[in-house]
């Protein structure tokens, strides 16, 4: 078992000496913060954009907003997220010292473009009779949307939203391109200081995998709960 002891010694040298694991913990926290913050922003932008696109259908007054939304979606989906990150950090927020808020904003804006399409298709899938019932009671377009359509739409597209959150978590691994030490960057830094090319990388891979599995599991629970409420 000498190789095993050697490996343990290697792990000790790589992660424990000089408290290097604390870099990983900070990186882990940053990855979670960026993912969570970006997801909330993405959900907000996605909902607003989806609503504009739905309302603009047959309402010429919203034509300009609709065009702006289309440009937003085309540009965001047509460029790599790393490039967007570089643009935000080095062109738009040149004076930003802390990369984390910039990363949250960038990933949020990025995720919003994908969520917008998902949410829009969720809204379109709700029977027109639901809108008509709401409007016939005197509810405004907006009230009908927020009280009647969106709750049903979000419930139906929850799996897709969950998948977007999972994709977002993994995408944040490029946050290290700007001055952010996320989980990936932390692993990379330890690799560079310790010349251990294997263990830091395998460790962060395991952490991502565990996070994704936890998210899938939570999503499964949520979906099963909602499905049960359908059968009630």
């Amino acid at each position: 078992m000498t190789w095993f002891n050697a490996w343990l010694e290697r792990l000790y040298q790589t992660f424990i000496v000089a408290d290097r694991y604390s870099v990983l913990i900070d990186g882990f926290k940053n990855t979670l913060i960026i993912t969570f913050g970006a997801f909330l922003i993405g959900l907000f932008i996605g909902t607003v954009v989806a609503m504009i696109k739905v309302f603009a259908d047959g309402n010429p007054k919203l034509k300009i907003l609709d065009v702006l939304c289309n440009i937003y979606i085309t540009v965001i989906r047509g460029t790599p997220v790393v490039v967007q990150l570089l643009i935000f950090f080095f062109i738009i927020f040149v004076s930003a010292k802390n990369g984390i808020p910039v990363a949250i904003l960038t990933f949020g804006i990025n995720s919003g473009a994908y969520l917008a399409e998902t949410i829009r298709s969720g809204i379109m899938a709700i029977d027109k009779g639901q809108t008509e019932a709401g409007r016939s009671l005197g509810l405004s377009r907006m009230q009908t949307m927020t009280q009647i359509i969106l709750p049903q739409a979000i419930k139906n597209i929850l799996p897709a939203i969950g998948n977007e959150a999972i994709a977002l978590l993994k995408e944040t691994s490029v946050a290290g391109y700007v001055a952010v030490v996320d989980l990936t960057k932390a692993g990379n830094q330890i690799k560079n200081t310790t010349y251990d090319n294997i263990n830091p990388i395998l460790l962060i891979a395991l952490v991502y995998l565990a996070l994704v599995m936890i998210m899938s599991w939570l999503l499964g629970i949520l979906e099963r709960r909602l499905r049960k409420s359908d059968r009630r």
Binding site: G129, A133, G138
Partner: protein, 243 residues
């Protein structure tokens, strides 16, 4: 109560589908008007124009003297006074029966939550479904759903109720319970416009029967006139098929 003047409605990208071809009609307060006619004749479109679910292409509609076809009209306020019941119920599946009924009156600040709950409960008692207050629409039969849909519209205290084939999606054994609720409503003095194929209901409840055909009101009169002595050939041929 409702005045319709030269109402026309076209559908299609270039308005190429002419559905309503000039309808002039008045529905008086307390009146029960039943609209019959072949499928595709424009009955639903006519009814849906009355609360602007369809926007008329030409003509004017007045509700209590207010021109609702005027773009400046606050249509949401007008719709609060016009209840509508749909063929497919359109209950909100994510809300309980109680929430279905009280959502609009509370959100539109017509009542406090307590007032709305109380009123909803009273209405549920009236149709014999108080025990369903906390159920979800999926747990109800079609007939129960449609009775709840009627109650949902009634909770807004509307001045008029529009019904678009309220029993057409129901199993035959459930038609009666829905018609009974509508008859009660008629007895209570509600102004009603009902599109239906239930000729028995029309004979019993209608003050006036309108026969629609190809986008116009081809003939109208009392149930006795329409059912026992129709003048128009189209009316005769339609009635010979459905009676």
């Amino acid at each position: 109560m409702i005045d319709v003047k030269n109402l026309e409605k076209n559908f299609g990208k270039n308005n190429e589908i002419h559905v309503l071809k000039g309808i002039t009609e008045t529905i008086h307060k307390g009146e029960k008007v039943v609209i019959i006619g072949p499928s595709g004749s424009g009955k639903s479109t006519f009814l849906r124009c009355l609360n602007l679910l369809e926007v008329p292409t030409k003509g004017q509609i007045f509700f209590e003297g207010e021109e609702i076809t005027n773009p400046k009209c606050n249509i949401n306020a007008v719709r609060q006074r016009i209840g509508m019941v749909f063929q497919h119920f359109n209950l909100f599946p994510h809300l309980t029966i109680m929430q279905n009924i009280t959502l609009a009156p509370v959100k539109l600040k017509r009542m406090t939550k307590e007032e709305a709950d109380k009123k909803a409960m009273a209405l549920l008692e009236r149709i014999g479904l108080p025990e369903k207050a906390n159920a979800y629409p999926q747990q109800l039969s079609g007939g129960q759903k449609q009775r709840i849909a009627i109650v949902r519209a009634l909770c807004m205290n509307p001045d008029v109720m529009l019904f678009d084939e309220p029993t057409s999606a129901l199993d035959p054994e459930m038609v009666g319970e829905v018609l009974d609720v509508m008859k009660d409503l008629a007895k209570a003095g509600m102004t009603m416009a009902v599109v239906t194929h239930e000729m028995g209901f029309a004979k019993e409840v209608a003050d006036r029967v309108l026969f629609m055909d190809e986008g116009i009101i081809a003939e109208q009169g009392t149930p006795d006139q329409i059912f026992n002595n129709p003048q128009n050939k189209r009316t005769q041929s339609f009635l010979s098929k459905v009676l």
